[in-house]
């Protein structure tokens, strides 16, 4: 019986694969995209669990699960040390990795859709630098200048400062690079370099003014890391990230339409200006919150959407959720590399993503020179 069941399932899978191939040939990638998303969910779950089980200390996950389920012999199966390692170190780290990775990848997708170009990425065009500047301003000038901000936002002050920095940069960038609904990509990238340099210079001034403790805090931003993950940081960043992720599915149709140009999107019934405003604010919020909790982690926003477009195509209804899943998963994997490769020491994760992402980025350039709109 089980044998014929397995056979049956095998045949159904073969039929599904044949259907998908036939649909792909007629330009229909919707079902392929749904299958890919389902696989990504499994991949993300496996990676999440894997990352909680991996590390220098040997803490058993099954014991944690038993402890959580309230096993009677709880205190024997799980030492206090294991409980702390898993629940207060590895779990928040995996959660933060998933959130930040998803937010970076989705910010990339939305920004690329908005600017109608696969090279637009918050990290690449200076939005992350703007967000960093906001965060560094807050760290260095601190409560002396931003006392009211602290009072108003509590531990949200840092993500909010980074959000404001990112928002100002995005708006400037949009103003400079887009005229009459057409975005000049060359202007976009060059303006991104200029804005990056400018915010970098401001950050430099602040570092110059900083004392030793602030300097350590600030240096952390440049490298990017999930090492400081804890539940407080998650509480500060998660609402902002989740809110901006929750908005993006509603932008999908508009982002699809706007790939034909802002005028064409309007012709097809999209309220373009409103959609752009929502997109810009959500990119700035997601980028700001990510930068605030994990510093500058580059290339996720450009590598993940690009890889997925090769497989499932640019339809944002599928690209957005797929990017969120793959972004989160890849960042957790990069973090696993970062904390095991030089164990017990730890590499900043920004270094890992740059080592993987930068060559990949060059490969994109080599491969698709004519399709970049440059």
């Amino acid at each position: 019986m089980p044998r014929s069941e397995a056979l049956d399932r095998g045949m159904r899978l073969t039929a599904l694969a044949a259907d998908i191939r036939a649909e792909w040939r007629s330009g229909n990638r919707a079902r392929l995209a749904r299958v890919v998303i389902a696989l990504l969910v499994v991949f993300a779950a496996a990676t999440f669990v894997g990352s909680i089980m991996t590390g220098a200390a040997d803490a058993s996950l099954s014991n944690v699960v038993r402890w959580l389920l309230g096993a009677n012999d709880a205190d024997q199966v799980l030492s206090v040390r294991d409980r702390i390692i898993i629940l207060d170190i590895r779990l928040p780290r995996a959660v933060l990795g998933m959130l930040v990775g998803a937010s970076l990848a989705v910010s990339g997708v939305v920004m690329q859709g908005l600017f109608r170009n696969p090279l637009a990425d918050p990290g690449l065009v200076g939005v992350s630098s703007g967000a960093s500047l906001g965060a560094v301003l807050l760290i260095v000038l601190g409560s002396a200048v931003f006392g009211p901000l602290f009072a108003l936002f509590g531990f949200y002050a840092l993500p909010v400062a980074a959000f404001i920095g990112g928002l100002i940069t995005t708006l400037l960038l949009y103003r400079i690079a887009t005229r009459g609904g057409q975005t000049s990509v060359a202007t976009l990238l060059l303006a991104g370099i200029a804005l990056g340099a400018l915010t970098g210079a401001f950050t430099g001034v602040l570092i110059f003014m900083a004392d030793d403790k602030q300097l350590r805090d600030v240096t952390f931003w440049g490298l990017g890391s999930l090492a400081g993950a804890n539940w407080t940081k998650i509480a500060a960043a998660a609402p902002i990230i989740l809110l901006s992720l929750a908005v993006t599915p509603f932008l999908s149709r508009g982002l699809n339409a706007i790939t034909l140009g802002e005028a064409a999107a309007f012709h097809m019934g999209i309220p373009v200006q409103r959609m752009k405003n929502i997109a810009i604010v959500s990119v700035a919020a997601a980028t700001g919150a990510s930068v605030a909790v994990s510093g500058g982690i580059g290339f996720v926003g450009i590598v993940v959407p690009h890889l997925l477009r090769l497989v499932i195509g640019p339809d944002h209804r599928y690209l957005v959720p797929a990017s969120a899943l793959l972004g989160g998963t890849l960042l957790i994997l990069a973090d696993m590399i970062a904390r095991t490769i030089a164990s017990p020491a730890e590499l900043p994760i920004g270094i890992v993503t740059a080592f993987i992402g930068a060559p990949f980025f060059l490969w994109i350039l080599l491969r698709g020179r004519t399709n970049m709109g440059l």
Binding site: G27, N28, A263, H267, G269, G313
Partner: protein, 263 residues
């Protein structure tokens, strides 16, 4: 009926349209012609709602454009722009189905059929699985037209005529496809819809248009049936070159050959 009254448009501080009025009736193919930079495309953009006029008004089936939401407009008229560059790897099918953005039904089969029919209508039947970026300019133009036909598939909906606004729909097409597309526009009119097309080829316009509007320097210089508009006098007044307009003996359709010109 699309009604433009006393429309003025200012672009970058310069007045480009000077109080023009025109009507495009359902059932008729209205063509706008004129020299480069005379305001044809600007007029079409104002009619589509893409540009806000400085003065005057545009109404579609009796409703002022200003009072309509983008998605309401999208169900009344489709717009074909001059050229469309896409920097993402969409397949032809995906581009055409973008036309369903405002009017997708819950019936996936019906939507599929509308998209397939639209591709068939522009003679791109087997192209659904090709990548848009890999097509030639003329093929891309026809895919865009299919996308517009997917948006406005029926010439009449809810008892109201619908409209196609086409900006140089045949500019990069070979002669056979020029005829295919003009015939398609013509059939759309015969089935009760309306078409406004900005055109360059005067002979093709004379052959297919019911009404011809000739513009110069942001004003309308002549309008009416092609045989009344396309005359030696208007040719010289509008294009600044003396030409001899002839007519096909049978149908009385006027034509003009560049060989007759003296500059």
């Amino acid at each position: 009926m699309i009604k433009v009254s006393n429309l003025s448009v200012r672009l970058g501080g310069r007045q480009v349209i000077h109080g023009i009025s025109l009507e495009a009736a359902p059932g008729a193919l209205t063509a706008i012609v004129g020299p480069n930079g005379c305001g044809k495309t600007t007029t079409l953009k104002a009619i589509s709602g893409e540009l806000t006029p400085e003065g005057g008004s545009v109404s579609i089936n009796g409703r002022n454009l200003m009072g309509l939401k983008p998605w309401e407009l999208a169900l009344k008229r489709g717009v074909l722009p001059q050229s469309t560059v896409i920097s993402f790897p969409f397949t032809v099918r995906e581009v055409v189905r973008l036309g369903l953005t405002a009017g997708a039904t819950s019936d996936a089969k019906a939507d599929d059929r509308v998209a397939a029919d639209a591709l068939e209508a522009v003679d791109l039947g087997g192209f659904a699985g090709r990548f848009y970026q890999e097509l030639s300019g003329g093929e891309q133009q026809r895919v865009q037209l299919a996308r517009v036909l997917c948006q406005i598939s029926d010439p009449v909906a809810d008892g109201e005529p619908r409209y196609l606004l086409l900006d140089e729909p045949v500019s990069s097409l070979d002669i056979r496809h020029q005829l295919t597309i003009m015939q398609l526009a013509r059939r759309f009119c015969e089935r009760g819809g309306g078409v406004i097309a900005v055109m360059h080829d005067l002979n093709l316009t004379a052959m297919f248009a019911d009404r011809m509007i000739m513009m110069k320097a942001g004003k309308i210089r002549a309008s009416g049936a092609p045989r009344d508009v396309l005359t030696d006098e208007t040719m010289e007044a509008v294009f600044g070159c003396r030409m001899q307009v002839s007519a096909m003996p049978a149908a009385g359709v006027p034509f003009v050959l560049p060989q007759t010109a003296t500059l």
